[in-house]
């Protein structure tokens, strides 16, 4: 018998992963854009017009969400399958024009008919596909809607043939078609070739939202509240849960940390990830979320990873890193090699009672630092021409990260602390 907490937890976990919750709907500012796109597509389907548009917005701003809701509305209004066809292409997956045309064929269910044919050029292939959508009396053809996700990737194809042909058909009204591209690059149009750009309608819709902290806290509360009692949970439990979430949102500690998070990165996806980690803590012994859960979840997802890495290094590796940082300081950023670092290390360790390591171990420590990408060989120097000990490295750690890591390092020897004071 699953307890109330477990049921609640499962519901919330699902909500964080699948974006079908009501609080994740098209924001009000986008309704105008949504109607615009909806009207565009409706006129393609019902009146046989040709349209093309580009939706531009940063990652996680809701482009796919908007398109999906438009398509859902369209399905309610017009007759899917009979009047129009939707073809979805994705720039990451259709990396080649050949793969793209195969995918289009597949989505139109024309594989058998295209199988026997040999096509001379891409446009022949495309024209064959479009013609097959025409009815026998050649009077009314099915409208096609192309939705192209990660649109800027299609611009990287050779000669941009797919784009050229699509926009060409669109422009010359050979078939009723709409092309909607979704991209996160502002300069997507500048990626077009001249012939493609001239055939594009230059209709661009920008999806920018000004981040607002009150909206952010509202989303936080909406994501966590249950509101309606789902099957298996008593309404009294739902009420107490919702109240605990409201109290949590008003807790000054939570509010302060949320504000910091909002200033760092106001994206919804990050909030969902954090709440997922926090909700995982719920259990029999822990029936309600506490402010500590939220704060530690935020910390685990936004912490500086390099400082965490530095805390796991051995003392020798830290010493070598400090010596390299010192050389970096006195030589104003010139990269140094292993020999110089080791020489500095022996010099600094001359007066200390700690174990001094010889070259081989120090070399291995250096290689470990390189594997962890805390130091990186300078570009342009091929490793085969230069001996291992003389390869010059850049240091990719700042002094602040080192200081922060050393303050949290367990059982740090005092000599290393003194070394850090001189070096940083």
């Amino acid at each position: 018998m699953a307890s109330c907490t477990d049921i609640c937890r499962n519901i919330l976990l699902e909500r964080m992963v699948f974006n079908n919750h009501s609080s994740i709907s098209v924001p009000d500012e986008f309704l105008e854009h949504k109607n615009y796109v909806f009207n565009l597509l409706k006129s393609t389907v019902q009146n046989g017009e040709n349209n093309s548009a580009l939706l531009i917005g940063p990652r996680g701003s809701g482009k796919t969400l908007l398109i999906n809701s438009v398509l859902a509305e369209l399905e309610a209004v017009c007759d899917f399958e009979k009047d129009y066809v939707v073809i979805k292409l994705h720039g990451f997956f259709q990396t080649d024009d050949r793969i793209a045309i195969q995918e289009i064929t597949r989505q139109l269910f024309l594989e058998e008919e295209a199988a026997g044919r040999a096509f001379g050029s891409f446009s022949e292939n495309l024209n064959f596909l479009l013609n097959s959508l025409k009815m026998a009396d050649r009077k009314k053809a099915k409208s096609i809607i192309f939705i192209m996700d990660e649109f800027d990737q299609f611009c990287q194809h050779k000669n941009q043939t797919l784009l050229y042909n699509l926009f060409d058909v669109c422009q010359s009204a050979q078939a009723p078609m709409a092309v909607i591209g979704l991209t996160c690059r502002m300069d997507a149009i500048s990626l077009f070739e001249k012939r493609v750009r001239s055939r594009f309608s230059h209709r661009q819709i920008y999806l920018f939202v000004k981040p607002d902290f009150t909206r952010y806290t509202e989303t936080f509360v909406n994501l966590l509240q249950l509101v309606r009692a789902p099957p298996g949970l008593k309404p009294i439990y739902v009420r107490s849960w919702d109240k605990s979430i409201k109290d949590l949102a008003q807790d000054p500690l939570v509010e302060g940390t949320l504000k910091k998070l909002f200033n760092l990165n106001p994206k919804l996806r990050l909030l969902q990830n954090i709440l997922l980690v926090a909700v995982c803590r719920l259990g029999k012994n822990h029936p309600f979320l506490s402010s500590k859960d939220i704060v530690s979840a935020i910390e685990s997802q936004t912490t500086d990873c390099k400082t965490l890495q530095l805390q796991g290094l051995s003392v020798l590796e830290l010493q070598l890193l400090l010596c390299m940082k010192y050389l970096d300081k006195i030589y104003f950023g010139e990269p140094c090699n292993y020999e110089m670092a080791f020489y500095e290390y022996t010099k600094q360790m001359k007066s200390s009672s700690m174990q001094k390591f010889d070259r081989q171990i120090a070399m291995k420590a250096m290689e470990h630092l390189e594997t962890l990408e805390l130091i990186r060989p300078v570009e342009g120097v091929s490793c085969s021409k230069v001996q291992k000990e003389f390869v010059v490295y850049h240091i990719l750690i700042t002094s602040e990260q080192l200081t922060a890591a050393l303050s949290k390092y367990p059982n740090l020897p005092t000599e290393v602390k003194q070394l850090a004071d001189t070096c940083l």
Binding site: L13, E14, V17, F93, N273, R281, L313, S314, Q387
Partner: protein, 417 residues
């Protein structure tokens, strides 16, 4: 509850990883898998072990694991995953991969685990990570991509960006945790308190250089016999820990130089120490080393006949030693020298009269093929004077000089070690 008993079993099996096991079990066994998980931490912190055990313990989830070292091209990756999930298709691009995933007959949620994911960053022009993380959204299936790596996620970002993962960090073990873990591997349980003293001795010496758990486990296993030896022979009693420490310490110090480098012939990896070189070849290497690491303008002072040059040499070198570290030749690396400088130095350091013959020059070619000297310069090898650079290390040259009774220190411009 089934979940809690599963967690307890895993925590008992894998100690000191409670927090990570909690989060992973909760995430993996919910109905909705998040699309992208990123697990990171130092080597030997148990990342692959924990992920594997957690996923295996949840029967509801299918599991495909890839080690990215094996993936020379995306094709290996796709086909290996499909094979582990029961499909026999050939596949070399992401579109087909997504299609075959949709066609799988088994509709349970899928976890794809990629170990050492940092090696995969450059596949498909750097697009492989964004593509893989979009697969759950694109196919609409319940898939979770888990990346395991040593490096923070910020180094994986490229291009226009991709989905951000849920990050799970595996911290390095502390000294107490390592002690506890090693105690579980005690070879002779009856000596457990003795083993504990032994381990604290070992960790006291080795933990400064190395916190890698697997390496420490190997070292602990290696020296146990040596530690137990005086006890078995009755020399030292079990309780006299100070004497035991004094007995063990020299062995530990000597093997400290072989941490990470296993095997009897750990040091002296350069060929010269293994094989015997001809007499003149040794002098050639020494001459090459001197040519690389001494500035050319001090050759005359150093190598003109010993009696005449000695006074000048001493005066000269004293003032030279005031040079800044910055110019220390030994630290900058070997410099390039033309062959006639090499021959000049060679003739001056070899005591007896040597006639320049083909044999000497052939030995130079042999040294080049042994990679003790490298030939620098491009394809225009036959134009001008051939130039070389010495590749031998200081330790090698010093040991060679000792075998031929040559005082290397006297001829080196910069004697910083």
């Amino acid at each position: 509850m089934e979940i809690n008993s599963r967690k307890e079993n895993l925590k008992a099996e894998i100690p000191h990883r409670e927090q990570q096991i909690e989060i992973l079990v909760d995430i993996i066994q919910s109905n909705a898998l998040p699309p992208f998980l990123y697990v990171y931490g130092h080597t030997s912190t148990g990342k692959s072990l924990v992920v594997q055990r957690v996923i295996e313990s949840v029967e509801r989830v299918q599991y495909a694991a890839i080690h990215c070292i094996e993936c020379l091209s995306p094709r290996f990756l796709y086909e290996s995953v499909l094979e582990q999930l029961g499909s026999q298709e050939r596949c070399d691009n992401a579109n087909d991969f997504a299609r075959y995933l949709k066609q799988l007959s088994d509709t349970r949620p899928i976890c794809i685990v990629l170990d050492k994911a940092e090696r995969m960053r450059d596949l498909s022009d750097g697009m492989i990570i964004p593509t893989l993380t979009k697969i759950p959204e694109f196919t609409g299936l319940n898939i979770c991509i888990v990346l395991i790596s040593e490096i923070p996620f910020e180094k994986f970002r490229c291009g226009t960006g991709s989905l951000d993962p849920i990050q799970i960090f595996f911290p390095q073990y502390s000294k107490e945790e390592i002690l506890d873990l090693l105690m579980k591997e005690c070879p002779q349980p009856e000596h457990s308190s003795l083993y504990q003293t032994y381990l604290s001795m070992i960790l006291g010496v080795f933990l400064v250089a190395c916190r890698d758990f697997c390496e420490l486990r190997y070292i602990a296993a290696q020296h146990w016999e040596a530690f137990m030896e005086p006890i078995h022979s009755g020399e030292i009693d079990k309780t006299q820990s100070v004497k035991l420490w004094r007995h063990l310490e020299p062995k530990l110090r000597s093997s400290l130089n072989q941490v990470y480098v296993r095997g009897p012939d750990a040091c002296g990896t350069q060929i010269g120490l293994k094989m015997e070189l001809p007499f003149f070849s040794k002098f050639l290497i020494i001459a090459a080393y001197l040519a690389s690491y001494n500035p050319a303008r001090y050759d005359r002072r150093l190598f003109v006949k010993a009696k005449e040059g000695r006074k000048n040499k001493d005066k000269g070198l004293k003032s030279l030693k005031k040079q800044k570290l910055h110019n220390a030749a030994r630290l900058m690396g070997p410099k390039v020298f033309p062959i006639d400088r090499l021959m000049a130095i060679f003739y001056s350091i070899v005591e007896e009269r040597v006639t320049p013959s083909l044999n000497i020059f052939v030995q130079i070619s042999t040294l080049v093929s042994l990679k003790l000297i490298t030939h620098t310069g491009s394809a225009a090898m036959f134009q001008g004077v051939p130039k070389y650079r010495c590749n031998a290390g200081y330790d090698l040259v010093r040991s060679l000089a000792r075998t031929v009774n040559f005082e290397l220190g006297r001829y080196l411009y910069d004697t910083t070690v």
